[in-house]
């Protein structure tokens, strides 16, 4: 009898849905069907049992081809590459659990590496704004149960977080929002008429790159001052109308995305969005949330904050303390200044998602990819180490976009002998300790688990 596993977490976007149902074959090895997932989530579960899945590390040969090697050799190679480098960079963590992120933190500290995660090229500016201005936010259930004015600013959940609007923000019927969408006024601010904008009650087609001006106009109006006839391509009347909607909302929720952080202004756009939220709290209840991209991209920010005090761009190369200074210790800037002499890409694809110039710089030195799948980074790597897929073959704690921790289960067994990120990095750590003739530090008396044993969690 195939087995139906319910309340399964989806390892795709920052909405981190945990209501998937997965039908698994008798032997617990095949995924037959997924329910409730969006098209992207479904793809992940079905892709996992693809027969071409890699089961061994591949090492680049002098002729440019890949040769399969044993995990021991790959672990030794990685440990030595990290030790030989003056300033290695370990980057990624879009698709890893917190257990893995924690294990990598231990390795990075030991190796004197820079630790960075995908926020560095996504919501990093939001962190900068939070450092300056704070973050009045809430969990997504508050949005579902209370919010009656929803603002999507520079984000497009219909494409990037396909079930966000149905689970949390527009459609769900919550405790104080019993009429669902009818209860809510949805406002979208975007230079394009995105599919999210089409759903909205009002779309402000802001002039691209002029978000700061428009935020500023809202703050100005809410503080009772005059604004020009047109700001950032939006007519005054429309701005006044939307400002009034916000002022009269019982619970205003502002979601923002890459439209704010990827363009001119960066952190300043987010900073003023936070200020607007603070201002709104003088009139009513208002909250703001970054639309984090991946199902656990909030995870490294949490884990490294409690371990090192910083959410990203954590430079541990000084040996005595952690240092963070985005612009200086951020992956792209480090790469462009040629400061990195070993690059480890974990659970992401820097090959596809970094500007190509940064990739070229990083490729001058040892380049290692740790990821279950073939991706652009793996295909230019000196070494590619496959690992189990979190949320499919490996359980673990992940942090949703609202920083709520969710314990993701696994639904099938991973390929035999393929380790999890945590197991792999624990073994790399032990190897580094052997090579440096030092004692490993397990703050919780933890011993490394050999890759061949699959742990029941």
């Amino acid at each position: 009898m195939p087995k139906l596993i319910t309340q399964v977490g989806c390892p795709y976007c920052g909405a981190s849905c945990d209501d998937l149902e997965v039908l698994v074959s008798d032997d617990g090895k095949k995924i037959l069907e997924t329910r409730n997932a969006c098209v992207i989530g479904s793809e992940i579960f079905h892709h996992a049992t693809n027969p071409n899945r890699l089961k061994k590390p591949r090492l680049r040969q002098p002729d440019g081809s890949f040769k399969e090697i044993e995990y021991e050799e790959a672990i030794d190679y990685t440990a030595k590459a990290l030790l030989n480098a003056k300033k290695p960079l370990i980057y990624g963590f879009g698709s890893t659990n917190c257990e893995g992120i924690s294990a990598v933190g231990r390795v990075a500290e030991k190796a004197g590496a820079v630790l960075d995660n995908c926020a560095s090229i996504c919501h990093g500016p939001s962190f900068l704004a939070i450092f300056d201005n704070g973050y009045p936010s809430c969990t997504l259930g508050e949005v579902k149960n209370r919010a009656d004015v929803i603002v999507f600013w520079g984000c497009n959940p219909m494409h990037a977080h396909p079930r966000h609007t149905s689970r949390y923000s527009i459609f769900p019927r919550g405790f104080f929002t019993s009429r669902g969408q009818m209860h809510r006024t949805v406002i979208c601010v975007d230079p394009r008429e995105t599919d999210t904008a089409k759903l909205a009650d009002m779309h402000l087609m802001v002039k691209q790159g002029h978000d700061y001006d428009l935020f500023n106009a809202f703050r100005t109006v809410l503080r009772g001052h005059k604004i020009p006839e047109e700001v950032a391509g939006i007519e005054r009347a429309k701005i006044l109308e939307v400002a009034e909607k916000m002022r009269n909302g019982r619970f205003v929720m502002i979601f923002f995305g890459m439209g704010c952080t990827h363009t001119d202004g960066r952190n300043h756009n987010v900073d003023i969005a936070i200020s607007l939220t603070r201002d709104l709290n003088d009139h009513t209840k208002a909250s703001i949330m970054a639309m984090r991209g991946h199902y656990n991209i909030a995870g490294p920010g949490q884990v490294w904050s409690w371990q090192f005090g910083f959410p990203y761009c954590v430079d541990l190369s000084k040996g005595t303390h952690a240092h963070m200074n985005p612009g200086e210790t951020s992956s792209i800037d480090l790469a462009m200044r040629d400061e990195i002499d070993c690059f480890v890409n974990v659970g992401t694809d820097a090959g596809a998602h970094f500007p190509i110039d940064a990739v070229k710089h990083l490729k001058k030195h040892p380049f290692i990819t740790v990821d279950p799948n073939i991706c652009m980074a793996s295909e230019i790597s000196d070494l590619h180490i496959p690992v189990r897929i979190v949320g499919v073959e490996e359980p673990g704690v992940v942090y949703r976009m609202d920083n709520v921790p969710i314990q993701f289960k696994k639904v099938i067994d991973g390929p035999e002998s393929v380790p999890s990120d945590e197991e792999l990095f624990d073994r790399i750590y032990v190897r580094i300790c052997e090579l440096t003739q030092t004692e490993p530090i397990w703050v919780h008396g933890k011993a490394p688990v050999p890759a061949s044993t699959s742990r029941v969690k």
Binding site: H47, P125, N156, H159, D195, Q208, T263, A352, P355, M376
Partner: protein, 137 residues
């Protein structure tokens, strides 16, 4: 009709890209989803091209050949969109305004027809840029 036009480029997510990416970045689906530039029909007219024409998009850091399509989500004149991914990142300026984040959106590009030019695969672009591409030119 102009030989080339200057547009403001943004590179963002799309569901087509997301789904194809999870299938695999070497798949035809990913190629189809991401090797396109969305631009307003008026801008196409200005450039004198038809839908599905290959164009060369050039930024301050490089160029890439992609196919011009009408936007699946409305793009006003003057704005162009390449879905996030390998093709977009051939032209994204790595400058970060000291924040760590490259200029993924809001950078000027020139777009010109490139009817006879071939769109390279993801692998060719990325491996090619680091001297690992073994396929044909």
């Amino acid at each position: 009709m102009a030989e080339k036009i200057v547009l403001n480029m943004i590179t963002q997510r799309s569901i087509e890209e997301g789904q194809a990416m999870e299938k695999g970045k070497t798949t035809q689906e990913y190629f189809k989803a991401c090797s396109v530039v969305e631009m307003n029909p008026d801008d196409m007219k200005r450039l004198g091209i038809l839908i599905n024409t290959n164009v060369k998009v050039t930024s301050e850091v490089g160029d890439v050949i992609v196919k011009a399509i009408t936007p699946t989500q409305f793009c006003p004149p003057g704005l162009a969109h390449i879905r996030q991914g390998v093709w977009a990142n051939q032209i994204v300026p790595p400058r970060t305004q000291s924040t760590g984040v490259p200029q993924y959106s809001g950078f000027p590009v020139t777009i010109e027809p490139a009817r006879n030019e071939r769109i390279k695969s993801a692998l060719e672009l990325v491996q090619g840029s680091v001297g690992l591409w073994k396929g044909g030119a």
